[in-house]
């Protein structure tokens, strides 16, 4: 039964018109939302100019408001794109194709009727037509992403309508640099790229440094697989990033800024290029900004396919034209960075928060999140949840709450674990479901917030394979400068590959731990130091899965294809049942069994000749044949 839409009495949209907003983020574009936009725009433009069309919504019509088709940045509800939203009613249509455009115009726009098939279907099977009724939207606090999904990222006018560049004006004309960084310090803003370092303090260090030339750099290298928060920010609201940068420059005494953006983000590059050009034209960049005497120039530097260039020193080397290899710190960038000058490097999301803090004040920002982790955090949630996509929620929500916002686990899957922080991060398991997610709480658990990538996993996901997957990535991205990471990650990967292929050997777990320890302790940069995290973390929470692979030729999650037959005919002891009586050990003619009295015994499949004496000897039938 079609619902009808009520016309709100006080239309509240960006520019006061009815807006048919079509998401033009990379995710939706890859599903054809650009074509949807073109088709809708064509039809809606035709509408407006046709005099005998009466637009009706419920009990009124909207003749006195204009209607326009608008592009926007990422809404975040990426699993269900292409997304079309009609404001101010907040009607949301999902998975819209070009073939749906006629219906949308005829039924919804002209007649105010909802098309059920295009609406989001929740876990109970109910169709929800408005974002106001969809928890994915209502549970978020979109601060950094505030404009994404609403405004046209190519329009500085719309940015200004949403208080854009007000903070810049306030900072430059009413505050001095110390007041600016103190406000950011008071707000408790911490680096959103993963380091969690207090931003205001970082700016203070740079401001204190005495040098002729200082720099600010926005780090948009975003290399974590599955992370796309910064991409959306730059694609969806590039002026906010620019505004944050100029304020950062002012606070630190830098007159030159760069955004280092990975080459794999062509749309983001296009949007920021365009925004920079516009900002120069409008006087927000260049000389004597807004007549305050402050100069700031902004350039774009592109990456060239190296994850390691997200690391500060490698990033700066790359900008200088050298190969992106990290250098030891100290000296830290704030003392000696780009071209040996004091440099402040901030993550894009961190910068996107800055104008809001300046505009609304530190106290306001502290109203979100927890005492130590103020504000909000964007998360790119993927994996076995119903609504994979991009969300922004206050710091301090529990893991369980976050998964709920993402629509809960998909279908009938049971929660098993969540990988957080990308290849540098660790796993959180069932016991962490009620843990509030903040910088510090995660660190205590040996995990890391990272840049906000979050992969939810159900019982069909093999934890050993997860470790292997992330290590495969890190190993490929190692710069090669220090042998610890260069070779160590490869050896760890080799062990994991053997294990997931059914060729695990006794001692592999100890080897992984030892190697992991040396790599974490002895690597030159963060990439190496954190590379073992997925392994060590899965070992901590899911060691029994490793053991099952190695000793039982079993993958509990059913993912790995073990037993390629290479150990067929040999025997294995069920680790859970073994009581350590030594009977099999004594019976074995080739000494293939290892174990202390009272401890679990293990049969080395390489040495076992398959004679079966151990099977005879075992008093509790804990030994069986491998296939």
């Amino acid at each position: 039964m079609s619902q009808s839409i009520q016309r709100p009495s006080n239309p509240d949209t960006v520019d006061g018109n009815v807006r048919v907003v079509v998401c033009q983020g990379t995710g939706c574009v890859s599903s054809g939302s650009d074509e949807v936009y073109d088709a809708l725009a064509e039809e809606i433009d035709a509408l407006e100019s046709s005099e005998d069309v009466v637009l009706s919504y419920g009990d009124g019509n909207l003749e006195e408001l204009g209607i326009e088709t608008k592009k926007s940045g990422c809404h975040g509800f990426c699993e269900l794109g292409p997304l079309v939203r009609i404001d101010p009613m907040h009607v949301l249509y999902t998975q819209v194709g070009v073939e749906d455009v006629d219906d949308i115009v005829e039924q919804t726009i002209k007649n105010g009727e909802i098309i059920d098939d295009l609406c989001f279907e929740d876990a109970e099977g109910n169709r929800r037509s408005r974002t106001d009724d969809i928890s994915f939207y209502t549970e978020q606090d979109r601060l950094a992403l505030g404009n994404c999904g609403d405004i046209d990222p190519e329009s500085v006018e719309e940015y200004r309508l949403r208080d854009g560049y007000d903070a810049l004006e306030k900072a430059l004309s009413e505050m001095d640099p110390e007041e600016v960084y103190e406000e950011v310090e008071d707000a408790g803003l911490r680096g959103r790229g993963g380091g969690g370092f207090p931003t205001g303090t970082k700016w203070k260090f740079a401001n204190d440094a005495d040098a002729e030339e200082k720099y600010v750099i926005a780090n948009c290298d975003e290399g974590d697989p599955g992370a796309f928060m910064d991409r959306c920010l730059v694609e969806g609201d590039p002026h906010r990033v620019i505004e944050g940068m100029v304020i950062a420059g002012y606070a630190t005494g830098a007159n030159q800024g760069y955004i280092y953006i990975r080459a794999e983000y062509p749309l983001a590059i296009e949007r920021i290029e365009q925004a920079i050009d516009t900002a120069y034209e409008e006087g927000y960049l260049g000389e004597d900004i807004l007549g305050t005497g402050f100069d700031f120039d902004f350039g774009i530097e592109q990456g060239a396919g190296a994850f390691v260039c997200g690391e500060e020193t490698a990033l700066m080397a790359s900008i200088e034209g050298q190969a992106g290899r990290p250098t030891p710190r100290p000296p830290y960038p704030a003392q000696s960075g780009l071209n040996d000058q004091p440099t402040t490097i901030n993550n894009v999301e961190t910068l996107s928060n800055v104008p809001l803090i300046i505009d609304n004040g530190a106290e306001w920002f502290r109203g979100y999140g927890t005492e130590d982790s103020t504000g909000t955090k964007t998360f790119a949630v993927s994996g076995d949840v119903s609504a994979t996509g991009l969300m922004e929620i206050p710091m301090g929500l529990t893991l369980e709450e976050i998964i709920e916002v993402a629509g809960g686990m998909e279908g009938n899957s049971e929660f098993k674990a969540v990988q957080i922080g990308g290849p540098s991060g660790g796993l959180l398991a069932e016991q962490h479901l009620d843990m509030p997610v903040t910088f510090d709480s995660l660190q205590e658990e040996g995990a890391m917030l990272g840049s906000g990538g979050l992969v939810a996993m159900d019982e069909d996901t093999c934890m050993v394979d997860v470790a292997r997957f992330f290590l495969d990535f890190t190993q490929d991205e190692s710069c090669g400068k220090c042998p610890t990471c260069r070779i160590g990650t490869k050896k760890m990967l080799d062990i994991l590959e053997r294990i997931t292929n059914g060729e695990g050997k006794p001692g592999d777990i100890e080897r992984l731990r030892d190697l992991g320890d040396t790599i974490a302790e002895g690597s030159l940069c963060g990439l190496g130091k954190t590379a073992p995290n997925p392994v060590l973390s899965t070992l901590e929470h899911f060691e029994e899965e490793y053991e099952a692979h190695i000793y039982d030729d079993e993958c509990p999650a059913g993912e790995c294809e073990l037993g390629d037959g290479s150990h067929a005919g040999t025997y294995k002891i069920a680790a859970a049942e073994c009581v350590g009586c030594q009977q099999c050990l004594d019976a074995c003619p080739v000494d293939a069994i290892d174990g202390e009295q009272g401890e679990t015994h293990e049969i080395d499949p390489e040495m076992c000749i398959g004679c079966g004496q151990c099977v005879e000897a075992c008093p509790i039938d804990a030994i069986s044949e491998r296939v």
Binding site: A306, E477, G480, P483, E521
Partner: protein
């Protein structure tokens, strides 16, 4: 950590290393402080003259029980407690070494470097005697394309010392890293064979390499360092006089290395490192006389003496590789026969002295000593003008100083009649023969009369051509060996005076500075030509051949056979470079020692023997030796 920072370090940091109290200077690294306190920290990618990168992780130390950092990149702080030898640290080192062992071909048995290898030493120190990882290496083809240097990169540990040496010490940027991670490889230029690359064959990379990944062909498999005797002497291949460490084994020279704690950081050059080893011409053991074959010294000298006595015109040319004492003795001997003596470069040096004294005050009353303190002065210069860029071939180490200065930001201007050999690094290339040196015609007249004519518009043009020289920073004018025309010399010294620059004169070799000797004009034709060729080779003997052709009787005193000795009437033996002792004067004006490396196995024990015999029959008194 740059070298400059270290020298500016001030006193006063107290820390503890391995429980021992250590007094360090502010700005020093933990590694430096430890070394001065005789505490050893294992290193691999660290190398004295190079910047530290903290890449190999061997020097990891525990600081304040809290963090682990590389000692080579961490500055000392007051109150630091550093542990170098904890069990954990050695476990880590062992693991890392084990990883490195599995990464490449580190079977020592077949390796040239065995016994001298820093990696092998570390394996032993860490007690590594087994490797549990599968051995898998990239199997890179050995690069034998270069005549002197071989790259066996399956033995490379990617320490980067060769890359940093080629960059920071030699300034040539030939070697670099290609790709990343486990695919990382050392390559020449953008991946060409070393023999086809921009390599200038100095061999500094081979000296810097801690393993057998880069080695030199002439020295490979000739003996371990501990089996060799080492003698330090001075190179006589150019006027820089680099210090040489000559390794000998069983009476043969095995290899030559540079000394790393000077400005040249041990780089040497193709001539000094390889050329001196590679002379395969036949040695002249005994004297000979045309028609009579081999004779004894007295007979040969007698024959020479007779020709000289009877001659009215005698031309004499001395090798520019001879020590001062021998040159002076030769000059005295030739003087006895009223010979005209030419020593390459001597005339130019004499001209320079004269011009400097006369010209400089004309352009700058306060022009004091215009002479640069030495070649190292180029490293600190803010502007460098090089007249004659062939120093790239003749004085390669000085050329490396010029490149390093340019890389550090100095303005570089080249003036050359041919190709600018510094092309990619120079800010301006001026062809001599262009406006700058056409002015010299005017300059010459002016020098004879009065300087004021030059003091107006021409001066402007002169200075405008090399504006950086006037900026007020330290500037150096380098004169390569091909500069001989008085005009260019006047030009250069005038320029130096006007812009408060110093002149670094790089004449041919080591004995052109001997006062008053060798600047004579030779006769067009002579009855006798006495050519003291010593160990001159290849193009060096061209001049002597020319002089020989215009003489009736030719006497040659040489180390090895050549077309010169084949054409001579009398051939007398001479010492080779490694047999000589004496003194030479280098380009900074300092006296340097030549030390005998091996005893001669020829008919003479010194060149003086011959010269003193020769002097006996002269018109003047016996020569004082």
């Amino acid at each position: 950590m740059s070298k400059a920072t270290q020298s500016e370090a001030e006193p006063g940091v107290a820390l503890e290393i391995n429980g021992q109290d250590v007094q360090a200077r502010e700005g020093q690294t933990i590694l430096e402080a430890a070394r001065e306190a005789d505490i050893e920290i294992p290193t691999l990618c660290e190398h004295e003259p190079l910047t530290n990168v903290g890449g190999c992780r061997m020097c990891l130390v525990e600081i304040d029980g809290k963090r682990t950092e590389t000692a080579c990149t961490t500055t000392v702080q007051d109150g630091m407690e550093v542990n170098v030898d904890s069990e954990d640290l050695w476990d880590h080192r062992r693991t890392i070494l084990e990883l490195m062992f599995s990464e490449q071909n580190h079977y020592c048995m077949y390796c040239e470097m065995e016994g001298d290898c820093e990696l092998e030493d570390l394996f032993n120190e860490a007690g590594l005697d087994a490797c549990e990882y599968p051995l898998e290496y990239n199997d890179i083809d050995v690069d034998t394309s270069h005549s002197e240097i071989t790259l066996d990169l399956d033995r490379c540990v990617l320490c980067g010392r060769c890359v940093r040496t080629c960059d920071e010490v030699v300034g040539n940027d030939t070697l670099t890293f290609k790709d990343r991670g486990l695919e990382t490889e050392i390559v020449a230029d953008d991946g060409v064979a070393l023999g086809d690359s921009s390599c200038i064959s100095c061999g500094a990379c081979a000296q810097a390499c801690p393993t057998g990944a880069i080695y030199t062909n002439q020295s490979a498999y000739r003996g371990r360092e501990e089996e060799c005797d080492v003698v330090t002497t001075t190179c006589t291949e150019c006027s820089l006089g680099c210090e040489l460490e000559v390794y000998t084994n069983s009476g043969r020279i095995v290899k030559i290395e540079g000394v790393e704690d000077g400005a040249d950081a041990g780089q040497l050059c193709e001539m000094g490192r390889f050329g001196l080893l590679g002379d395969s011409r036949e040695r002249i053991n005994e004297p000979s006389v045309r028609g009579d074959g081999t004779v004894d010294i007295e007979t040969a000298v007698e024959r020479a003496r007779e020709s000289l006595k009877d001659a009215d015109t005698v031309n004499a040319v001395a090798s520019s590789r001879l020590p001062t004492e021998v040159t002076e003795a030769f000059a005295a001997s030739m003087d006895a026969y009223d010979a005209s003596l030419e020593v390459p470069g001597a005339k130019r040096t004499a001209d320079e002295r004269r011009i400097a004294e006369k010209v400089a005050p004309m352009f700058n009353e306060h022009a004091g000593n215009l002479r640069a303190s030495g070649p190292e002065a180029v490293l600190d210069a803010e502007a460098v003008a090089v007249f004659d860029t062939s120093i790239v071939d003749t004085h390669p180490v000085a050329a490396s100083y010029v490149r390093r200065a340019a890389k550090d930001g100095a303005t570089l201007v080249s003036v050359d009649a041919d190709e600018d050999r510094f092309a990619s690094k120079s800010d301006a290339s001026i062809e001599s023969g262009s406006a700058l040196s056409r002015l010299t015609e005017d300059s010459v007249e002016v020098v004879e009369d009065d300087a004021s004519a030059l003091a107006d518009s021409d001066t402007e043009t002169l200075i405008n051509a090399v504006p950086a020289l006037e900026d007020g920073g330290i500037s150096i004018i380098v004169l390569g060996p091909d500069i001989e025309e008085e005009d260019t010399l006047i030009n250069a010294y005038a320029l130096a005076a006007m812009t408060d620059s110093k002149v670094l004169s790089l004449p041919d070799r080591v004995n052109s500075f001997v006062d008053g000797i060798g600047a004579d004009d030779l006769h067009d034709d002579a009855e006798v030509a006495y050519l003291f060729a010593a160990d001159d080779r290849e193009d060096d003997i061209d001049r002597m051949v020319e002089v020989a052709r215009s003489a009736d009787t030719v006497i040659v005193q040489a180390t090895r056979e050549s077309i010169l000795t084949k054409a001579a009437d009398v051939v007398l033996p001479s010492l080779d470079w490694f047999e000589r002792s004496g003194t030479v004067t280098d380009a900074s004006g300092a006296d340097r020692d030549l030390t005998r490396v091996l005893d001669p196995r020829v008919a003479i024990d010194s060149d003086w023997e011959v010269l003193s015999e020769l002097a006996k029959g002269g018109e003047t008194q016996e020569v004082e030796l």
